[in-house]
Symmetry: C2
Subunit: 187 residues, 2 copies
Amino acid sequence: MGDKTTRDCIVEAADKLFYQQGYERTSFASIASVVQISRGNFYYHFKSKDEILDAVIETRLCTTRRMLQQWEVEGKHPVDRIHRFIQILIDNRLKIKQYGCPVGTLCSELAKLDHGSQSQASQLFTLFRTWLRKQFVQLGHKSNADILAMHLLARSQGVAALANALYSEKFIKNEVKYMRDWLNNYV
Amino acid sequence: MGDKTTRDCIVEAADKLFYQQGYERTSFASIASVVQISRGNFYYHFKSKDEILDAVIETRLCTTRRMLQQWEVEGKHPVDRIHRFIQILIDNRLKIKQYGCPVGTLCSELAKLDHGSQSQASQLFTLFRTWLRKQFVQLGHKSNADILAMHLLARSQGVAALANALYSEKFIKNEVKYMRDWLNNYV
DNA sequence: GACGGTTTAGGACAATTGTCCTAGAATCTG
DNA sequence: CAGATTCTAGGACAATTGTCCTAAACCGTC
């Protein structure tokens, strides 16, 4: 476990399991067996299961913010940065075809559970939305930058959803090529 | 309940609840309270909960097949028929923003549960895929008809997923307009 | 009205769930 | 070393889950 605190280990394991099995499906027992702590020990670190979910979302928000910031540094041109966004579909294609998009599937599950952390989870989308919009604005699309950002976000969501349902890697590659062409023709 | 059999009532209620709350979340008790039968009575009609799921999927497959057949009759031109497909996003926009796409969310949940009926559920997608492909073939796109079918399917999935996550009706309308333009420019 | 198959109600079952409690171990502080 | 604080283990708790069982109600047929 290294030098990470028990709390961090719980959040890390929960993050992974929530993605792979879903939030509700993941029990305290299954997290405990991964982290190797007793079931009763959770309640020293978290008051409830919902609180673990909040911590997981918070972690994901931080990670995503950092990632987007990093992309901002690496990509010289806005087009390069948007291409970097599209690239995550390729990079994560194995996990996507198996578990779908971590953001999309979590939001979908929480919506069905009518869970209170729903709006927090959707902030993950907002992060990408705002970031993409910024890039499109820099490309001169002031009036419809948000439309374009949402469009690209939806496209990637659709790719993830279908690739997961049909368990197809090839489809991801097809669509990514399509998206790249779209982007290059648009700017 | 009319003259429908108890079995039909169970499947109907389960269908609705599976969509609104998810498969795992929906308990026998909650179905029972809708159909107004005792919990123990289920096992006369179904051997297990999985069997109810199978029946629900089977029903959805039948309904979808009928609907696609109907569209085939109503739409004179293949383009009209594809537009009819896009139109479901508008027709079901209220439910979509609240619960997502019934096909997409079910497949996503079953994938996470690693459920045996996963492939059955994804047949729902295949139904649309085959139907759309057929329309594109009739439009003369022989070599990439399947690519186009999958593309449109993914677009609609993405719209549903995002509209659900951000609870936005307006976004659906935006994207539908976009999809219609795409279709008209393509053919 | 008596019979036999179909359908139903309601409770029992073990397992699992999230939650809570308490006693003890570990760690830090003086 | 003594004491206080932080952390942990493990069991108890009620509630809920899917499943199963049995007896009674229903219903058409003789």
